[in-house]
């Protein structure tokens, strides 16, 4: 009886009883996943707890003496201004590069070209700052003068043109170069996924290469480009060192992007002021960091939502 019963029982038990090793391992894996969620929540929680003194302090104790909103406001404006310029510079270029690498470059060297563009992402931001202030800013001075001469009626180019080139415009261009590989990598991916049947059908009907791209590739890749641009925007909003090195900031809210006095950005203001800050100044800086965190969080969540929504109905199905 027992001899026959023993071999039968284990299989039925194995379905329900899990080995301790299994339980430990899956528990550790699940725990790490939950830990990551906790870290993200912790970032928000610790920033809020350290920002709280500044949020509740009387307005005259905040640096500048006019309250938190008027301290952070110009910084937010500067952050958005630089990021928008970066986006305007980078998006058309990135789409062009992505199209070139996926559909125009000779097949044999296309992968290498994609890798070269990705190298732009590998260069540390502090080095971009070095390059921006030593090479790009002086080179752009005549361009600043030309802008204010020809387009001076726009508030952005009101002048007087900076003679050092350390302006929001230069910063925006450097940020544009930095986010170029992000946008072009995602655009490249969606462009190369455009259904081959659509592309071949367009070519078979006698479309030129550009007509094929316009009809089969761009409609398919549009949301991918938008998502890539938003991810690039998130990166540009939070970029610190390049802005801190290049920009001669500190002015209040102004839309003028080519003069010597620019609004600083949140991230660069923290980097520049934090090492010497004490007391309530630290809390104020952390409060501005909290604002940056929330802005980038919203931008990134929106971008990811677009990417994921697209992923649902793309590919082979």
């Amino acid at each position: 009886m027992t001899a026959t019963k023993a071999p039968i029982e284990p299989p039925s038990q194995q379905r329900t009883v899990r080995r301790p090793g299994d339980r430990l391992f899956s528990g550790a894996a699940k725990g790490s996943g939950i830990f990551i969620l906790l870290v993200l929540a912790g970032v928000a929680a610790f920033l809020i707890s350290e920002a709280l003194p500044a949020l509740t302090a009387p307005s005259e104790e905040i640096p500048g003496g006019e309250g938190l909103a008027s301290y952070v406001g110009p910084l937010i404006l500067g952050t958005l201004l630089g990021a928008v310029i970066a986006l305007l510079v980078a998006t058309p270029l990135a789409v062009g590069i992505a199209l070139y690498v996926t559909y125009y470059a000779p097949r044999r060297i296309a992968a290498g070209m994609g890798y070269v563009i990705d190298l732009l992402a590998a260069i540390p931001s502090v080095v971009y700052g070095f390059w921006g202030i030593a090479v790009l800013a002086p080179q752009l001075v005549p361009f600043h003068q030309w802008l204010t001469d020809t387009l001076g009626f726009l508030p952005f180019f009101a002048g007087p043109a900076s003679t050092s080139g350390r302006t929001m415009l230069t910063v925006g261009i450097v940020l544009g170069v930095m986010i170029l590989p992000i946008i072009s990598a995602i655009s490249r991916e969606v462009f190369s996924q455009a259904p081959a049947l659509h592309r071949e059908a367009a070519l078979a009907l006698g479309a030129t290469r550009w007509e094929m791209i316009r009809m089969a590739v761009l409609p398919y890749g549009k949301s991918g480009v938008i998502a890539g641009a938003m991810l690039g925007l998130g990166r540009a909003l939070g970029e610190t060192m390049a802005v801190a090195i290049i920009l001669s900031g500190g002015a209040g809210a102004t839309l003028n992007v080519i003069s010597n006095s620019n609004p600083s950005t949140i991230a660069s203001n923290i980097a520049l002021s934090f090492p010497e800050a004490t007391g309530l100044d630290v809390n104020t800086l952390i409060a501005s960091g909290l604002a940056l965190f929330l802005i980038t969080l919203v931008v990134n969540m929106l971008a990811r939502w677009i990417v994921n929504r697209r992923a649902d109905f793309s590919g082979a199905n």
Binding site: R19, G21, S26, A28, K30, G31, S32, G33, I36, L37, L40, G42, V43, F46, L47, E50, L93, G96, I97, Y100, Y104, V116, I117, L119, L120, A122, I123, P124, S125, V126, V127, G129, F130, W131, A134, V135, L136, T208, R209, W210, I213, G234, G238, E239, T240, M241, I245, I270, A271, F274, P275, I286, G289, L292, F293, T296, L297, N300, M301, N308
Partner: protein, 359 residues
Amino acid sequence: MSIDTQSAPQPTRHAAGPVRTRRRLPRFAPLGVYLAGIAAGAALSALTGFSVVTTVVYGVVLGTLAVYVVSRSVEGQRKATDRLVTSLVTTAFAIAMVPLVSLVYTVLDNGLPRFDAAFFTNSMYRVVGEGGGAYHAILGTVIITALATVISVPIGLLTAIYLVEYGTGRLKRAITFFVDVMTGIPSIVAGLFSFALFTLVFGNSVRLGVMGAVALSVLMIPVVVRSCEEVLKLVPNELREASYALGVPKWRTVVKVVLPTAVAGLGTGITLAVARVVGETAPLLVTVGLITGTNLNPFDGRMATLPVFAYFQLTQPGTATQAFLDRAWTAALVLIILVMVLNVVARLISRFFAPKTGR
């Protein structure tokens, strides 16, 4: 045969009709027209006071226009638009190359003068002018990055295993989504988080190497998770099923079958994640600070790191300005070399440790 002879006259008669016989430019004609446009641009630039920048700008604009006009007159509207777009996207690629080449050239040009033995063997202790080096900063970067790797890799790898092998339902979706969102956290915010965390525990104005490692981990974990997840997904399901069929428990299947199969990809992903954080400056600036001497203990006070060292050498030069600028550029050069070496190593790992496919 008979069909051939009958149909042969058809095209010749057709060609004599209203359809133009040569609607395409010869193969190298567009390039020639483009170069002629660039030459015209150079001439225009010479008229208005020669400079390289205006030559290139005028040249590219005129070259593109020339190709469009010639193609339009010979090949018609549609083909001309196609050629216009071709030159536009090629120009876009060329424009992107300009900053890369210029940046690498500038860093090499300015960084090589101090790229000597002293830079790698001396610290900045009691150095106010010439000489000195980044010995302390290089070691600090290595220690803090290694610490960040030690924190990030187990968490990141286990999370990736959870997502691929165990995860289901809402928790999996939430983790995937928020890991993606986490890749977008600004580096300075990660630094502030670490600062706030340690300030609450240890009191005000604390600066430790480990704070920097924690900040870098926040940036590194999502990258590790994403790359490991992609690699683990590539492991064929047949291997897992074969292992289960032999009665191997799931956790041993993961450890002994799935991970060894994916080890090359995991190594590549982790190395690229290290490359991503090794050049981060902002989080270290607010958490680790900078000292001139050599501190190799990340649990005791400020440390020097290469990016922060480079930043302060450039922005706060002492009386001997040129010596500080030279050190700053050399530090930037070392940083770029470090990142490039890590990228190359990542590629080599995936080449040499890839599982034998047995083909």
